[in-house]
Subunit: 105 residues, 2 copies
DNA sequence: CCTTGATATTGATCGTGGTCAATATTGACG
DNA sequence: CGTCAATATTGACCACGATCAATATCAAGG
């Protein structure tokens, strides 16, 4: 019954404090920024297997991509995830959510 | 442990096929559009108590507002929910979700 | 190879949430 | 007040997901 709707899966992937924190860190380092999985283990106070599980959920929902570099694995925001998120917002409010953002003058 | 983070609650409220369907219907009828609860019972193939439960979740997360008219109760998108959704998107992708929308050349 | 560090998987536990049947509440209208 | 239609609440059941301890895989260096 896994809901199979990709929009629901995207929202569900973000609807967890640990995962939202991970994704926000990835967003904060910019578009091409990559973060080592070990860094997530340090910051969020959950165990390493739990972090690995959350990263798997995010990857499976198409939110992040992973790239191996030696023993470390670096994660980055998947391309197009912002578009997907914005598209869901558009289907909700039927409009332009962005116009409402704090405009940086 | 209810996660208390309003962003997580907003995303969680949308991360359900039935609730997303409800919110999309509300978005489709436009800004001031209101929809009777009974209409949701008809369209989504879940029982009336379940619809009532989902509406309660959406109301509790600040996604919808309700207004009684006789025996019927009409629901509408809460003001500011689009802004809240967009703000989360901004914190994710750095900014710009809107520029990323399908550009109509 | 063997060890070591990083990540993933397994297995188990436990809370949360979606669902329904049954029942209660609420409001309108005789 | 009694009835009816609409909505909410209760109680129970079940699946899913978040979590951790233990273990496995995987890659680099000696």
């Amino acid at each position: 019954m896994k809901s199979s709707d990709p929009d629901v899966r995207l929202l569900g992937a973000l609807a967890d404090p640990t995962r939202l924190s991970i994704v926000r860190q990835l967003g904060a380092v910019g578009r091409s920024g990559m973060i080592c999985a070990c860094d997530f283990v340090e910051c969020c106070d959950v165990s390493q297997p739990t972090i690995s599980h959350h990263l798997k959920v995010l990857r499976s929902a198409g939110v992040v991509t992973s790239e191996r570099q030696g023993t470390n694995i670096y994660y980055a925001l998947a391309p197009g995830v912002a578009e997907r998120y914005a598209a869901i917002g558009a289907s909700l409010a039927g409009l332009v959510p962005l116009a409402a953002l704090p405009s940086p003058t």
